[in-house]
């Protein structure tokens, strides 16, 4: 169970069992639904915008511990950020998941580092982030 403990660490399991900002947002400016075709998991991310700022973020849906924990971390990460900062955060995160960037130390996100060893699970970790990214693009166009 060694590698398992590494992958399913305390932080991931904490976010999984006690997800932050889980729920739906009424009157959201951004709402994006995304499906992981690999396993059928689905996620919806919501955000309200205050001018250029992400005022509130929530997510709903069902999925594995990695996708749920990652979504929970994302909401904490993006809350209060301006649009450009949010886009940067997402870009950094995706780069970390492909191994192009280092994970920040002393950060909840670092707990997802273990996922890199399991290519089939990277999509789980990036699901919410991709949904948010697509939502911002759609919202920008709208």
């Amino acid at each position: 169970m060694g590698m398992m403990r590494e992958l399913y660490g305390q932080i991931i399991m904490d976010h999984y069992h006690r997800p932050r900002n889980k729920g739906e947002l009424e009157n959201a400016d951004l709402e994006e639904h995304l499906l992981n075709p690999l396993c059928g998991d689905e996620i919806t991310v919501y955000a309200t915008l205050d001018g250029n700022k992400v005022a509130d973020v929530k997510f709903s849906g069902r999925g594995c511990s990695i996708s749920q924990a990652s979504a929970s971390m994302m909401t904490e990460r993006l809350m209060g950020k301006c649009r450009e900062e949010a886009e940067e955060e997402i870009k950094h995160f995706k780069n970390m998941m492909t191994g192009e960037e280092e994970f920040p130390e002393m950060d909840d996100l670092a707990a997802l580092k273990g996922v890199i060893q399991y290519p089939s699970r990277i999509k789980c970790a990036t699901l919410a982030w991709t949904a948010f990214q697509q939502g911002m693009n759609d919202e920008g166009e709208g």
Binding site: M1, M4, M13, G40, C124
Partner: protein, 408 residues
């Protein structure tokens, strides 16, 4: 006498270690492992006989052709096919069904016609018919499943009627472990002069199959799920139907005479074998069939029935587990879910113990919706699996659960 430990020695991969754990391979519904007897035939073919078939008057071409055609005869015999001219090698079940949906469907379906399928179909026996329906204006109807996963035959009798042109059905379910009453469905279809296609991907590897006895018009299966190599599968069709059908793929081998503006078609089965086929794989499938017949399909079925029922019983003792499909008369696989551990997480945790199982929708998204879930865990057994491996699975599930629960 069925000697599972002796059988296991024929499968080199079963010696494989996953980390420090011995591999427990329970993903056989996805693909089976290969015995040494099949692997050796592939090597021998490439080392001594490799040539293109049906052309060339040199010795290698003759040997390759003879081995390829001998394999066709073997597979025909294995499936109870009376006349091997109706036995076409394809890339697998998916291609076999697409061949029928295209070459038969496009020619014979029109608006007002109906195709009746079950709601438990694998995508491979659903999507090709969606495409055929779109192209021809025919409609799809679906036989529902009952709570225990078996087909609602009363509803089937209401659905199949004068408008029905074809009934398509899985012989055995890759999720529910059900064995469908194909013979009854065939009689029902034939009452209305409709045809029946049987998707045998999950039956041919595990049950004695006799296409004549089943009364079907088309039967499709995949080599790689029955000890054979990937890249080869089979479509059997009644020759009189195949003769009337247009070709599926055009190219070499499937022609008789080619002019710049038109061509005529080769005899069966070559009319449907365009281009260079997967020759080595087809020959490998012949070796796989030899192996299966050596053990005896009745014996394999009995072994899997026992292990499937043992797995069902053992898993049902796990608290709050949901098991899918009927308790009895099942094939050797069990789909299940737990309320507190996601299928994806469970399969990853089991991998740590060397256990390979499948999680996900198993290419049956409509069935998952019917079952009210998006994904299940599936342990699928084959002729080399043991009750000890079932025990390992149950133990590993309990451990995974404990591990997950510790954080809750």
């Amino acid at each position: 006498m069925y000697h599972v430990e002796k059988i296991r020695q024929d499968f080199p991969i079963l010696e494989r270690k996953i980390g420090e754990k011995k591999l427990v391979y329970l993903d056989n519904a996805a693909t089976s492992q290969k015995p040494r007897q099949v692997i050796e035939v592939l090597t021998d073919y490439y080392e001594h006989h490799n040539a293109n078939v049906h052309r060339g008057a040199h010795l290698l071409a003759e040997e390759a052709t003879a081995a390829y055609e001998e394999s066709r005869e073997k597979v025909a015999h294995f499936l109870g096919v009376p006349d091997a001219t109706g036995l076409i090698f394809t890339r697998g079940t998916t291609e076999s069904i697409n061949l029928v949906a295209y070459a038969w469907g496009r020619k014979n379906l029109r608006e007002g016609n109906e195709i009746v399928l079950s709601e438990a179909e694998h995508h491979s026996n659903l999507v090709p018919w969606q495409l055929a329906a779109q192209a021809t204006g025919a409609k799809l109807r679906f036989i529902p499943i009952l709570e225990d996963g078996t087909l609602d035959m009363e509803e089937a009798e209401r659905l199949v009627g004068p408008k029905t042109k074809l009934v398509g059905c899985i012989h055995a379910s890759n999720v529910l472990a059900t064995i469908n009453p194909v013979r009854e469905l065939a009689e029902l279809a034939h009452e209305y002069d409709a045809l029946i296609l049987v998707d045998g991907a999950q039956s041919a590897p595990h049950l004695p199959v006799d296409v004549d006895d089943l009364g079907c018009d088309f039967f499709a299966c995949s080599g790689h799920k029955m000890l054979g190599p990937t890249g080869v599968g089979v479509l059997w069709g009644r020759p009189e139907l195949l003769k009337e059908m247009d070709p599926f793929l055009g190219g070499g081998e499937m022609i008789r005479e080619v002019h710049l503006d038109h061509s005529t078609w080769n005899d069966l089965p070559y009319k449907f074998e365009a281009g260079t086929m997967n020759i080595a794989q087809a020959i490998g499938l012949g070796a796989a069939v030899d192996y299966l017949e050596g053990l005896g399909m009745e014996n394999i079925r009995e072994h899997e029935r026992q292990i499937g029922e043992y797995a069902y019983r053992s898993l049902s003792e796990i608290e709050d587990i949901t098991l899918y499909g009927p308790e009895k008369d099942r094939t050797g696989l069990v789909s299940f879910s737990l309320p507190d551990v996601h299928p994806h997480d469970l399969s990853q945790l089991l991998n740590e113990e060397g256990i390979a199982i499948r999680s996900g929708h198993h290419c049956t998204q409509p069935l998952m919706r019917r079952l009210g879930t998006v994904a299940t865990v599936r342990a699928s057994f084959y002729l080399y699996n043991t009750e000890k491996e079932v025990d390992a699975l149950v133990g590993a599930i309990e451990n995974a659960r404990e591990f997950f629960g510790a954080f809750a």
